[in-house]
Symmetry: C2
């Protein structure tokens, strides 16, 4: 399994599947000093592996993905005398890598950074592709930039110590990658449910690799999300509306979001009812939810603030048949009807 390289506008990003995270120092330019950003879980489980480096620990969970956590990191950077000769490494799941990438990108107008990705969700999605940022107000990833990590190490070692709920969460983004682009991957997911859920190394390695391959090819064509990259948001317009409020994991929220988006796709005559059922069955097989009782006012209010919104329209990602995502500009008044209908 070869590395996958994304050629970003400001440098290349190498996703590494066949190396231990212990080798991360080999991917850092010679002479750079290193500071690690991680959370307490990773520090407890793997801290010894980073004993030679300065380590900054941040709080766990979405509630710490804030400008205040950034300030804390900047204070620690100043204490360490971090300057442009340093390299920043984020070790963790999507929250750690999102914050690390953003902190590195704006401190002194940008230091180089890389990730050791420790969850299934971050290996298949969050740590790859150069989006970073923090939440603001009640809204997810409202503040951030596009900036590619120099490297992302996807070492399967970490997957064996993941809590079940977090492990399961990752499959939502793998199913998304299949649903928008790749029926072979969809079929493979369907054929290997038990092996995947039981952490079979060969199956997981293939699932991680194929998900990154699909994401990388989309990002390569549209790094800053002016068009095609929007299809990666399949399920996410609704997901962002419900994730912060309802205490669901990102994967659970995306799973529900994909079910809703597939129902809208059916109603708009784009997707067959059987195809939507097939998608929802796969989601269910991976122990993810397809429905949830939603507060329609809350969903609609949050949609209004979503980054997918442009003026009086929302860019909604729908399925034009299973394995083929399209982006539809849906007027807000229509969106309100849709939400009314779904919730």
């Amino acid at each position: 399994m070869e590395d996958i390289v994304i050629h970003g506008s400001a440098g290349n990003s190498r996703v590494i599947f066949n190396d231990s995270f212990h080798s991360f120092y080999n991917y850092i330019p010679a002479g750079k000093k290193v500071v690690i950003i991680t959370d307490s879980t990773i520090a407890n489980l793997y801290g010894k592996s980073f004993a030679d480096f300065a380590v900054i620990q941040i709080g766990e969970g979405e509630k710490h993905k804030t400008l205040q956590t950034l300030e804390k990191i900047f204070h620690e950077f100043l204490n360490l005398n971090v300057d442009r000769s340093w390299f920043i490494v984020g070790v963790g799941g999507g929250i750690v890598t999102d914050i690390t990438g953003f902190a590195a990108s704006i401190y002194m107008r940008g230091l180089s950074f890389g990730f050791i990705s420790t969850t299934l969700l971050s290996q298949v999605d969050a740590s790859v592709g150069g989006k970073n940022g923090v939440n603001f107000g009640e809204f997810k990833n409202m503040i951030g930039v596009f900036a590619q990590p120099s490297f992302v190490i996807c070492d399967p070692t970490f997957l064996s110590t993941l809590p079940k709920k977090e492990f399961i969460s990752g499959f939502a983004e793998i199913i998304k990658a299949a649903a928008i682009r790749d029926m072979d991957l969809f079929q493979y997911l369907d054929n290997n449910v038990d092996a995947a859920l039981n952490n079979d190394p060969a199956v997981l390695k293939k699932l991680v690799y194929e998900s990154v391959r699909i994401k990388a090819s989309v990002v390569q064509n549209d790094e800053k999300e002016a068009g095609e990259r929007r299809i990666l948001n399949f399920g996410h317009t609704f997901a962002h509306s419900i994730e912060l409020f309802m205490g669901l994991s990102h994967g659970e929220a995306v799973a529900i979001g994909m079910s809703l988006a597939s129902e809208v796709s059916v109603k708009m005559g784009l997707l067959k009812k059987e195809e939507a059922e097939r998608l929802k069955n796969l989601i269910t097989k991976y122990k993810l939810p397809v429905m949830f009782s939603l507060d329609k006012d809350l969903v609609y209010k949050t949609l209004l603030k979503d980054k997918k919104r442009e003026g009086d329209y929302i860019n909604l990602v729908l399925l034009n048949g299973l394995g083929k995502a399209i982006v539809e500009k849906v007027p807000l008044y229509k969106m309100e009807e849709i939400v009314d209908d779904l919730c």
Copy 2:
């Protein structure tokens, strides 16, 4: 006088000299909604010109150039339902344009923005070239990104209402542009002191234009300051060390910084004593200071946090003859001797 266009990595930046700020809307892509960010002075003097648009007012002075002011702006963006279909316009001096450019660049991972530059200092330097950011802790512009404004309007109208101290401050950056790159401009400055200080429109227009031309040519070659762009920091390594602490204007601090850097240049055998005197004479003619009693511990401590530092070195900009700046990697121990010697 034609527009000057900087071709940035993520888009072009047009600096406009021959149009009234009232025409700014013509430079905004069709269909965009507009929000203005400005300070209370500009709002009082020119607010009527922006009555058709949403306006966000921020506090005045370096003490408001903070992450907290950014948060205030983001809250107002949310209240206005600002999304990617909006365009952000900063109307003010360097503090307003630095904050506006940074806020626009990280809200929803980046909206388009442009500037109406209202001070001499921001027209000749701050608003041009794509650096933006805020201060952090005691350090200037510690947090920010490189991102080019779509347009910068340099309308001389504003210069007539500038307080004297702020007007004078702008000449430091014009003298800097001449000292690092252009002896014709240096000579022109020397020949037109009275006209310039008396706000002669033709002389000022030429000074603004030539300063932007010099800066644009440097930025064009090295947008992200990996090399050549560092020469624009002539006088600034010392200036940043003293500006925040000593209540000086940016221009005054840069003027002192240039004097100090020219003395170091003489000591290192790069600049003739007469050339340093000639530079200091010009600074003095423009009513800017060349000396100040400095606290050497404070200067040294601040140098350690400067963005020009890389590990055990500081990239110090010196003059290898008047009109020709070079960047020298000076080891920290040597820097300590230099500060000791100068202060």
